[in-house]
Symmetry: C2
Subunit: 404 residues, 2 copies
């Protein structure tokens, strides 16, 4: 059995929430047995527009329920977000709901705002009550340590991690009307198409001014091309949350969306790259479907297949699995219209295998962590891209031995 390394240091410009106008903190409160940081706090100088998307899972965690209620009440404004890692506060019943409210209430008291202006998120083990006293102490210490500094931003980032192999951050800045606007995003999550429980938390802030209603519309478009291309809508975990904050106070931030989208797409790629032992990210691009929605469904069918994902781990250009996985979608019925291109090499064309250098393609697969798998399934106008991670020994190790 080969153990492949998951050592990975993403090459990326560092991004600091402080640059996007947030006070931040991160402390170790003893929620994680490891003693690593587990309470994070982000505070804006005033209530700012915020939009958020949450898991569609029927067992949405208590913090998700709490956030939905608060956002409905404020119409999309928040002053602070309080986060803990090490415990998902999911499937924890009435006690869990009381705890989520209490963590918001404590934060509101410390910050000096209405409880509805505090949002919350939790990530970690499911079904275990929060150790609330430790959490409360952590929130108090985090509040005392709030700062607008790069160091504080990094401590905040560290405190949202769970099984992540590396920290995920992305940033962008762009000139606007004589100023520079900054986008900073952080994320936690080891991405899978059928994602881990309590997996994905993403926070993207930028220091432009956008009205809550505009932000709420834009977040759907941004998520469709980023986090929802990894974490498929209908298969989200109990805690998945994506928060988007606009912290700026000056008018006229037009054109911001593409920069926020770019940062979000990078975070989504990093989440897929950290697919619990993943060695690569595969962009599955389906074209020629009847509609975009059908293309998305076909791409997801391929992306979810354990056989496809183990073949990618093995650097095995086993197009039979890719094509057959597509054939499992009820929308692919005419084999002779299907072609498959892997890393630029046509491996299957109009229903027939091609001749190609398998060893060379396998070598090419082993030398990149950004694999492109293109499938044409017919003559229709629909297309979609989905990211998936490969499935290797570390995935089993992490997931078979996570709580026991």
């Amino acid at each position: 059995m080969k153990q492949k390394s998951i050592e990975y240091v993403p090459e990326q410009p560092l991004a600091y929430l402080s640059d996007a106008g947030l006070f931040t903190a991160g402390v170790a409160a003893g929620i994680k047995a490891s003693g690593r940081p587990d309470v994070a706090l982000m505070v804006a100088p005033r209530a700012v527009p915020v939009a958020a998307l949450f898991t569609q899972n029927a067992f949405a965690a208590a913090p998700v329920l709490r956030c939905r209620e608060h956002l409905a009440k404020t119409g999309g404004l928040a002053r602070a977000i309080v986060i803990n890692s090490g415990n998902a506060n999911a499937c924890t019943g009435a006690q869990g709901e009381a705890d989520a409210l209490a963590m918001c209430r404590l934060t509101a008291e410390l910050v000096g705002c209405a409880v509805e202006e505090v949002l919350c998120a939790s990530t970690g083990v499911i079904g275990v009550p929060l150790p609330f006293e430790r959490l409360a102490q952590g929130i108090r210490r985090a509040h005392a340590e709030l700062a607008v500094s790069r160091e504080a931003s990094l401590r905040c980032l560290a405190a949202i991690q769970t099984t992540d192999a590396f920290e995920k951050q992305a940033g962008a800045s762009f000139p606007h009307g004589g100023r520079t606007l900054n986008v900073a995003g952080i994320a936690k999550g080891a991405g899978m198409i059928e994602p881990n429980m309590a997996t994905m938390l993403s926070f993207v802030a930028f220091d432009g001014k956008v009205a809550p209603a505009e932000l709420a519309q834009a977040i759907r478009r941004i998520a469709a091309g980023s986090f929802n291309a990894v974490h498929v809508d209908s298969h989200t975990s109990t805690n998945d949350s994506f928060f988007l904050l606009a912290t700026g106070s000056e008018e006229g931030s037009a054109g911001w969306e593409q920069h926020v989208a770019q940062v979000s797409e990078r975070l989504a790629w990093l989440i897929a790259r950290d697919g619990e032992g993943a060695t690569k990210v595969t962009r599955i691009e389906v074209r020629g479907a009847e509609s975009d929605a059908i293309a998305n469904e076909i791409a997801r069918t391929i992306a979810k297949s354990a056989l496809v994902r183990t073949a990618l781990f093995g650097n095995d250009p086993n197009w039979g699995r890719f094509v057959s996985a597509a054939g499992n979608s009820s929308h692919v019925r005419v084999a002779s219209e299907v072609s498959c291109v892997l890393l630029g090499t046509t491996v299957f064309e109009r229903g027939e295998p091609t001749t190609f250098d398998k060893a060379a393609l396998s070598r090419a697969l082993s030398q990149t962590d950004d694999v492109r798998l293109e499938l044409r399934v017919g003559q229709g106008p629909g297309s979609a891209t989905v990211l998936t991670s490969d499935l290797g020994y570390r995935y089993v190790e992490i997931n078979a031995e996570y709580t026991t």
Copy 2:
């Protein structure tokens, strides 16, 4: 990283196709690089009623297309079935279709019957043309060695294997009108809910007399409770095939169906048990859904989850994953109506976690290979059972390194 053993010797009464009235043979023709047996032949003394179910995959392999055509022409009669392992003859285009026809034609010439009375099956690597000369030589040798003997039956069984960790057979006999009727079944396949390519071949024969039309109706009921409970309809491989033969010539075999069903259920369990490195089979029983179809969909959502399957491999009573997986089905919306019972222990009740001895339950999981996971999802009348295998290191090893 722990390597778990997949040593497994199923305790089962041996079953011989010869007892069910078939001539059989199995030879090594060099299709498999390993030199192990790879051509099998089953011949009935005359054309007998046969029913078959095949993959729903859009890329149905050439032998599947050929069988569908032959069965349509004969109305459900066959004299012989010729099988090769080591090559699936799938995604092989026009050449593959010509090869499937040629293997039937050669068998028909040797046996002395119409080509339509020969069925065929292939299993192994996808997208590689059949080495037809070797296959033809194997078919000739297999025909020369045909016998009604237990030894020949076992050689036939050996020749249909690919990545199987153990051979799968099951039998039953029952008294009927002063005689004993015999059911014998063999199968190949390492079962997964989203199954391996070219995975499942099953052949069940019994020496009763049943009309083709009756057989064709019964096979659907039998498969629903056996092979289709493992290999979900919409996610079958290119080659999945289940053949059911009634070889008897005497009238009056009423009551046969339950015995054939029992043999088929046992084969299905063995396929799940051999889930490419599996250490156990989990029966996921969903109750309280709006309909049986919805219960089946919920059970499949759980059964397919890589997170559920790795938790089972780790003997981890991580009910959060089971419950959350159910929550990913669009049909489970009210968390407070959901309860979960694992190996008889209630671990989640009406939306709340229970207190239970986690270490004891983990120990119990490690000591059985037949796990029962019960989920009540509401108050409806619908129920369904699906079998799944766990996902461990060996699964990755087998599937990452299968063709490279």
